[in-house]
Amino acid sequence: MIIHHPLLGPRDAAEFTYMGDAKLIDRPDWQSETAAQEFYEYGYLRDNPAGWHKELWFHEAGDRSWLVVTRNTLTHEISNVELARDVARARGRSK
C-alpha cells in the first residue's frame, strides 16, 4: 500500500508500523468518577469495521510521525491521512 504522508507525500506502507483504531487517541480522564470503566472500554473495546476505519500508523522508518489514516478495510482505499498530533489537538487533547 501507499500512504500519502501529509508532509512527505506518497510512502510505501512497508515504512510504517500499524497500531489499529485511532480511538486510542481518546484516552479517558484519569480523575473521572468512572475512570476505571472508561479505561476498560478504552483499552479493550474496539470496533473492527468492514469498511471505513480510522487507524494509527507510525512512520517508523521515516519521520517518526504518528498518522491517522482513514482506510477502507475492504478495498484498502485510503481517503485521508492526517498527523495524529493535529487530530489529537482537534479532539481537545493538550498536555
Binding site: A36, G43, A88
Partner: protein, 979 residues
C-alpha cells in the same frame, strides 16, 4: 542426432550459433534463440515428461509460460531446478535437463501402471480411499503416494546463487511487449513519460514473432525488433525482457521477476540469478495477450498434441515443426492459420478438422467437418480418429495434432484486486471486468481485441488516455484485422479420459463425477478435483472445466463464474522473495564499539535484538562455559569487572515538560528527581501490565537520558512517541534515540572506583558522586563523557559513556587502568547471574503477563498522578491477595537443579495445572552461594518465605524440593551499592 524437424530457413533463431545440450543423458544441438522445447522438437523429441498421477507420456502443449506438461529438472548438482517449463527455458550451450516424475526411464516408466488403475484414481480418490486404518496414512499411504506422484525433485543442497530485490518507479508500466504493448510504449515513450516495458519472454514482440502477418512493409517480427530498438534508445524508457510481472498489488505497486542469469550456465561473479522488482507506478497498461485453449477428447494428451498457436510459434519463430505430418482440430478460424503456415513451409497437413459445418475450405489441404474422438500412439501420437459430420469415422495418420479451442484473454492481473472478469459471447471467453485495479487499463488481446491491427490501435489509445494526450492521429502500420469467428466447443461428446488439466491429471470424467457427488461451487470443484491447482494454475484448463460444470448444472458459464485469480502470475522462486536476506544476511547485525576488542579476547557472542553481545570470555584451561561465567562473577564481586552495556536503549528526552512526560510514561514519579540524579523507572502498558524498565538520569532541569532494555528499545521509543504525539500533543518535549551515539560500559565491583579514578577527570568520592548520581564529565584529560552511578550487579558500580568512536579506546583504557586490580571482562551470562543473585527483574520477569504488583513493585505505582497504566493496574483482578509475587527459590539439596520454567507445587498433592502455585522465571548457578538459585512467581509469595515446595518440570522430568526465600540472595540491605 540431427535437427530433423528444423526448417532450413526462417525463424528468429541465430543459426550461426549452435548450442549443445543434454536431455535425459542424450546429446542434442540447437541454436541461440531456441527454448529447450523448440530445440527438442527440432531434434524430433516429442516425449518430454510423465504426468503427475497416471504417469502418462507427455510432450509440450504450448510454447509459453502457460505450459502444464513439459516440466523438466533443469541443470544438475546444487543448481538443479525442478518443474522448469521447457517452453520458457532459454537454450544455452551446455544446458543439462532431465525429465521428471518417472521411475526408470522416460520411455518405460514403471509407474505407468497407475494409468491402468485409473478407474480407482479419480477425483477425491485420496479422500475416499485412505481413510483407515488411520495410522496407515502417515506410515504407508502418504510416503508411497508422495514417491509416486509429485513433480520434480529438489537438489536438497543449498542454492549457490543469489537473488536481488530492487525498486523502480515509473509513470506508466506496460505489461507485455506484443503489438498492443509495443504500440502503447512507443506512444508513451515518445511523449516523454517514464515508462517501464516488461515482458516475460527473452524476445520481445509477443505473437508478432509467431505469426506471418505483415505490419506495413515489414514482417511482424521485424517491426517488433525496430520498435524495441527505438524504445531502447529513449532515455525515459526502461525495456525489461525476461521480466514477468507477477502481481498487481495495492495502490500501483507491482511485483516483477527479472531472470537475469537463467539463460546462462552460471551467473557471472557477483550477479544475481533473478531480481524481484517492486515497481511503483501511476498508471498501468496491461497488454498481457491471450492464451489459446485446447479441446478435450479421448486420449487428447499424447506427445505431439499441442495448441495450434504453439505450432505456429514453433514454426514461425523457431523454424521447427513438431512432425512432418500434422493435423488440426479447431472450432474457430484461427486454427486454419496454423495449417496454412505449416503447409507453406512444406509440412504435410493430414487434415483440418473443424466442428463448424460452414467452414473455410482450402485448395492446399483437406478440411473436414467433424470431431477428433480418439488418438493412438504409446509414446507419441501416430493416428487421430475423426468422426465426421455425417457420422462416419476416419483415421488420420499424423505425428502432431494442433488444437484450437479459442482464446482466453489473460485477465489475471485485472483480478488481483478482487475484480471479476465478464463474459464475452463473441469470443466465448472471459474479458476484463469493470473493477480494474486503480490506474490500470487493458489493451489488445488481454482486453479481448484479438486482431493485430486492433491491438496496435488499442495500445496506442490506452497510451493516449493514460497520459491524457490530445493527439489521436497516429501513423499505425497496416495489419491483419480479422474478426473472431468461433463456435464454443469444449469437449467431444462421450469422451471420459479426456484431459482438461494435464498437469494435475484431471479429466472430463473427474469433473462430471465431482458434479455427481454434489460439488456445485466452482471453488469446491477446484479443490475436490484439483483442477487448476497445479503450477500452471489452470491457464489452459480452467475454462474447459467451467464449461462442463455449467452444462451439467444447466447454467451459463458466467453464472458458474471463475475461481479467484491470485498472484503470482507464474511460479516464482522462494529465493526471489527472500532476496539477499539469507544465512548471515538474514537480518542486520549490530556490533558494539568494543566488538573488535571482545573478539581479540576470544569472547563467545550471543545475539540480542540483532546486537552481538559477548556472552562470556573463556580463558585457557576452561572447558565449560560455567567455569568462565563463575570466574567472571566471582572476580567482579571480589575486585572489579567490566561489561559492555552499549546495547541498552537510550532515549534523549528534552523540553520544559520533560519531567512531566516521564511522569506519564513511568508509573513512579520523576518530577522531584534532582538534577544530577538517576532513578529506576517502571513503565506499564495501559492495561496495567509491566512493559519495560530502565533508568532515567536527569542531566539538566529540562534534559533526561532514559534507558530501555536492549530488546525493547524500538517498541518503547514508538510508545514514547505515541504518548507524546497522540496523548499529550502540547507538551514541550522532544525525543531522539541516542542508543548508538554512546559507547557505554559498566564497571562493577569493590575496586570499580579505584579503576575509574584513574580515568575520570573529577572527584569520584562517595560524597562527591554518591549512589544514583549522574553527570556530564570528561575522561582521560578532556574527552566528553557521561557517568552514572547505577548498579545492576548489586556491587559498587558505575556506567561510563563516551561518543561511540572512542568506545574501543576507552575499553582498552579501562582494562589498562584495571590491570593492577585484575579487572575481568564479563559477558551477558555473568551479568545475568549477578542480577539474579541481586533479585533484579529482567525480561524473564517482565514477560508481558506480570504487573507491578507481581514484581513486588506495587507500591511504586503512584496514585497521585496520571501515568500510563495506573488506572487499570488497580483492577480487582490484578490486586488479589493470592496474586503472584516475585520470590527467590533455592534447592534444599545444594546439588539439585532448579530449572527456569518449572512450576511450583505444594509438597503434597497432585502435580497438575489445577494445583499450580507459580513458576520459576530465571535460574542460574550462583558461584557465591555454591548452589543453583532462581527467581520466580508464587501465589501470595511475599508471605511464604521459608516454605518448602516442589519445583517440577514434567517435560524434563525434574522434581526438586526447594525453599522459598527472599529474591535478594546477595547483600539484601544494599550496603555494597552505597560503599
Amino acid at each position: 542426432m540431427t535437427q530433423r524437424n528444423r526448417f532450413s530457413t526462417g525463424g528468429q533463431i541465430d543459426r550461426s550459433t549452435t548450442h549443445q545440450f543434454v536431455f535425459d543423458g542424450k546429446r542434442y544441438h540447437g541454436h541461440a534463440g531456441d527454448t529447450l522445447a523448440s530445440a527438442l522438437l527440432a531434434n524430433g523429441v516429442r516425449l518430454m515428461g510423465r504426468s503427475f498421477k497416471y504417469h502418462r507420456p507427455r510432450g509440450v502443449l504450448t510454447a509459453g509460460s502457460e505450459e502444464p506438461n513439459a516440466l523438466v529438472e533443469l541443470r544438475d548438482g546444487d543448481r538443479q531446478e525442478p518443474n522448469t517449463r521447457a517452453t520458457t527455458a532459454e537454450l544455452y550451450d551446455g544446458l543439462f535437463a532431465k525429465s521428471q516424475n518417472r521411475l526408470g526411464s522416460l520411455r518405460f516408466d514403471l509407474l505407468a501402471i497407475n494409468d491402468r488403475l485409473s478407474n480407482f484414481l479419480t477425483a477425491g480418490f485420496y479422500y475416499k480411499t485412505f481413510m483407515w486404518p488411520a495410522a496407515f496414512w502417515e506410515k504407508l499411504y502418504e510416503p508411497v503416494i508422495r514417491h509416486a506422484a509429485g513433480l520434480g525433485s529438489l537438489s536438497l543442497q543449498d542454492d549457490p546463487d543469489v537473488y536481488d530485490k530492487g525498486f523502480l518507479h515509473c509513470d506508466v508500466l506496460i505489461i507485455g511487449a506484443g503489438p498492443a504493448g509495443l504500440s502503447a510504449a512507443l506512444t508513451v515513450g515518445r511523449a516523454g513519460a517514464d515508462v517501464i516495458l516488461a515482458d516475460e519472454d527473452f524476445r520481445m514482440g509477443g505473437r508478432l514473432n509467431s505469426e506471418t502477418f505483415a505490419l506495413g512493409d515489414d514482417s511482424g517480427a521485424d517491426w517488433a525488433a525496430a520498435a524495441v530498438a527505438e524504445l531502447e534508445s529513449l532515455p525515459n524508457v526502461r525495456v525489461m525482457a525476461r521480466t514477468t510481472v507477477i502481481g498487481a498489488f495495492d495502490h500501483g505497486i507491482y511485483g516483477a521477476v527479472e531472470r537475469v542469469s537463467d539463460h546462462v550456465h552460471t551467473p557471472a561473479e557477483g550477479k544475481p540469478r533473478q531480481i524481484l522488482w517492486r515497481i511503483y507506478t501511476q498508471r498501468t497498461i496491461l497488454a498481457g495477450g491471450a492464451t489459446e485453449r485446447p479441446i478435450a477428447f479421448e486420449n487428447n494428451d499424447r506427445p505431439g498434441i499441442m495448441l495450434a498457436s504453439a505450432m505456429r510459434s514453433y514454426a514461425n519463430r523457431f523454424a521447427v515443426t513438431p512432425d512432418q505430418r500434422v493435423a488440426i482440430f479447431t472450432n474457430n478460424d484461427d486454427g486454419h492459420r496454423t495449417a496454412a503456415d505449416l503447409h507453406a513451409k512444406g509440412v504435410k497437413i493430414a487434415a483440418v478438422v473443424d466442428v463448424r459445418p460452414d467452414i473455410p475450405r482450402s485448395h492446399d489441404y483437406e478440411v473436414l467437418h467433424g470431431e477428433v474422438i480418439d488418438t493412438k500412439g504409446r509414446l507419441g501420437l501416430t493416428f487421430a480418429e475423426v468422426r465426421l459430420g455425417d457420422g462416419s469415422t476416419r483415421t488420420l495418420e499424423c505425428g502432431a495434432l494442433g488444437l484450437s479451442g479459442g482464446w482466453n484473454p489473460n485477465v489475471h492481473m485485472t483480478c488481483h484486486q478482487r475484480g471479476r472478469p465478464t463474459w464475452n459471447d463473441t469470443l466465448a471467453a472471459f474479458v476484463p471486468g469493470p473493477d480494474l485495479p486503480a490506474g490500470m487499463c487493458v489493451a489488445g488481446a488481454a482486453n479481448g481485441t484479438l486482431s493485430t491491427a486492433g491491438a496496435l490501435r488499442e495500445g496506442h489509445a490506452a497510451a493516449v488516455s493514460v497520459l491524457d494526450l490530445d493527439t489521436s492521429d497516429v501513423d499505425l502500420p497496416q495489419a491483419e484485422d480479422t474478426p473472431v469467428a468461433i463456435k464454443p466447443f469444449w469437449y467431444v461428446e462421450g469422451c471420459a479420459r479426456a484431459w482438461l488439466d494435464q498437469q494435475n491429471d484431471v479429466t472430463v470424467k473427474d469433473v462430471k463425477l465431482s458434479h455427481q457427488e454434489g460439488f456445485r461451487s466452482v471453488e469446491h470443484l477446484k479443490r475436490y478435483t484439483t483442477l487448476g491447482m497445479a503450477t500452471d494454475q489452470g491457464k489452459t484448463s480452467n475454462m474447459g472445466g467451467l464449461a462442463i460444470m455449467a452444462e451439467l448444472a444447466g447454467k451459463s458459464i458466467p453464472e458458474v463464474g471463475t475461481t479467484i485469480f491470485r498472484p503470482p502470475y507464474t511460479p516464482t522462486a522462494i529465493g526471489a522473495f527472500g532476496g539477499r536476506h539469507r544465512g548471515q544476511d538474514f537480518h542486520p547485525k549490530r556490533l558494539t564499539p568494543s566488538h573488535q576488542w571482545a573478539t581479540e579476547q576470544g569472547a563467545v557472542f550471543v545475539e540480542v535484538g540483532n546486537w552481538m553481545r559477548a556472552q562470556w570470555f573463556p580463558r585457557d584451561g576452561e572447558t565449560t562455559w560455567r567455569q568462565s561465567v563463575d570466574r567472571e562473577v566471582l572476580a567482579t564481586r571480589k575486585s572489579v569487572g567490566v561489561c559492555d552495556v552499549t546495547t541498552l536503549g537510550k532515549v534523549d528526552v528534552q523540553g520544559t515538560d520533560a519531567a512531566d512526560f516521564l511522569n506519564k510514561i513511568y508509573c513512579n514519579g520523576f518530577a522531584k528527581l534532582a538534577v544530577g540524579k538517576t532513578r529506576y523507572g517502571l513503565m506499564l502498558r495501559e492495561d496495567g501490565i509491566a512493559m519495560d524498565d530502565g533508568t532515567a538520569a536527569r542531566l539538566a532541569e529540562d534534559h533526561f537520558v532514559v534507558t530501555t532494555t536492549t530488546a525493547n528499545a524500538l517498541p518503547v521509543y514508538r510508545h514514547m512517541e505515541f504518548v507524546r504525539q497522540c496523548l499529550f500533543p502540547d507538551m514541550d518535549v522532544q525525543l531522539i534515540s541516542t542508543t548508538e551515539a554512546w559507547a557505554q560500559y559498566a564497571v562493577a565491583g569493590p575496586n570499580s572506583r579505584s579503576v575509574l579514578e584513574k580515568i575520570v577527570d573529577q572527584d569520584m568520592s562517595n560524597d562527591a558522586f554518591p549512589f544514583m548520581a549522574c553527570a556530564n564529565i570528561t575522561v582521560c584529560g578532556g574527552l566528553r563523557a557521561r557517568l552514572f552511578r547505577i548498579s545492576f550487579s548489586g556491587e559498587l558500580a558505575y556506567e561510563i559513556a563516551v561518543p561511540t568512536a572512542y568506545g574501543d579506546a576507552l575499553m582498552r583504557k579501562i582494562m589498562e587502568a584495571g590491570a593492577e586490580f585484575e579487572i575481568t571482562p564479563y559477558g551477558t551470562e555473568a551479568l545475568g547471574v549477578m542480577r539474579i543473585e541481586k533479585g533484579h527483574a529482567a525480561g524473564n520477569e517482565l514477560n508481558g503477563t506480570t504487573s507491578a504488583q507481581n514484581l513486588g513493585m506495587g507500591r511504586m505505582v503512584s496514585k497521585k498522578k496520571d501515568s500510563i497504566g495506573s488506572i487499570l493496574s488497580e483492577r480487582e483482578g490484578l490486586n488479589r491477595d493470592d496474586d503472584l509475587r516475585q520470590v527467590g527459590i533455592k534447592p534444599v539439596d545444594p546439588e539439585a537443579p532448579v530449572p527456569a520454567g518449572a512450576h511450583l507445587m505444594a509438597m503434597d498433592g497432585p502435580i497438575d495445572a489445577a494445583h499450580d502455585q507459580g513458576y520459576a522465571t530465571s535460574a542460574c548457578f550462583s558461584p557465591n552461594l555454591g548452589h543453583a538459585i532462581a527467581l520466580g512467581f508464587l501465589k501470595n509469595g511475599s508471605e511464604r518465605t521459608g516454605e518448602r515446595m516442589r519445583l517440577v518440570s514434567p517435560l524434563t522430568q525434574v522434581e526438586t524440593e526447594v525453599e522459598i526465600v527472599s529474591a535478594h540472595f546477595i547483600d539484601p540491605e544494599g550496603d555494597r551499592l552505597r560503599a
